[in-house]
Symmetry: C2
Subunit: 229 residues, 2 copies
Amino acid sequence: MGDRAVCLLSGGLDSAVCLAKAVHDGFEAYALSFDYGQRHAVELQAARRVAQRLGARDHITVPVNLRLFGGSALTADIDVPKGRDTASMAQGVPVTYVPARNTVFLSLALAWAETLGASGIFIGVNAIDYSGYPDCRPEFIEAFEKMARLATRAATEEGPAIRIHTPLIALTKAGIVRLGAELGLDFSLTHSCYDPDAQGRSCGACDSCLLRRAGFAEAGIADPLPYRV
Amino acid sequence: MGDRAVCLLSGGLDSAVCLAKAVHDGFEAYALSFDYGQRHAVELQAARRVAQRLGARDHITVPVNLRLFGGSALTADIDVPKGRDTASMAQGVPVTYVPARNTVFLSLALAWAETLGASGIFIGVNAIDYSGYPDCRPEFIEAFEKMARLATRAATEEGPAIRIHTPLIALTKAGIVRLGAELGLDFSLTHSCYDPDAQGRSCGACDSCLLRRAGFAEAGIADPLPYRV
């Protein structure tokens, strides 16, 4: 049996590929999702399907109501932008940014990892198709890892230092799609859209849909998801 | 109107003194408490009283169910140790340690601070009456502050860098009691016990009660709380 790792799993393309990589690398995977008041709660169903199919040892969904703080189009009543080109996506921090989201998610992953005696946390951030989120960059991940060493039993040498694994950090979206295909991931289990309809169908036009579709197109692989437009 | 600051408020002695200090220093205080499945939920009532009395601009209690992860006497079914001397308290990480608790709390404070445009977070940790918690030490706080700069809009210079204020970090428990008295804090509003009875009365013998009582005794100030023993 391999080392344990906590794997952040939103149910989106990136986190599913990231979990597949952790399992492929021999980790015993503990998948962790959050119900944080996101508009696209349908992704939590996707997370459940992905965790099950990939053989995660356990899967917890933790409710953390980030709506209490407001401040993002993903959690408050602000419109999700549609049909933007990648140049405008890259300008500044977008309204879909949820303040300190990855910090909150990694901290809760750290709490579970310490309890499990896990040696790693997997997170599917990537810094290439840069979406303007400050908490997706390597400098942030390194600073979090350093802080985590001082925050836990590792600081007093009563526990392992916990490594933050970011296998997607240097990949383009097309590269992520290719890696997922190599690992045999069933892409139809994943969900990426920020603004799905009542049936859970993707809008096809929000930043997340556009990046996903461009990635599949560039990789020359068919995206099995149905889109409204 | 002063700068905004998010103040972590458990309802215990230390966090109440810390909030009083933030208000005294001219910050517009936003008090933040957590319902994390702690045994001593009576402290949340204390937090409400303290926030109100000290004139916090707002007070939110965020549910974060750390029981989902288990691993601590404060959240799982492990007995709270009683009647220990300070020497045994100082040995290793105690069972009342909640894995990565301060990291989780500071991360959520960071999310709120960023939404509010606050310039600071106040946390009542102290490293002198060292209780064996790794996440109460200055090295941890510094590493968290550095990580926070990279995690938020401050990283792209679209927001302020958020400072972590730890006004109690170099104080003994007696020093904290004296500071609270100087600031005019009504100590009867606070709650410290890890294992209160059904009426909310303090046990008088857990680590937290023992440290509190020793602090009041050393400061030569009467503790207004009733104790069972």
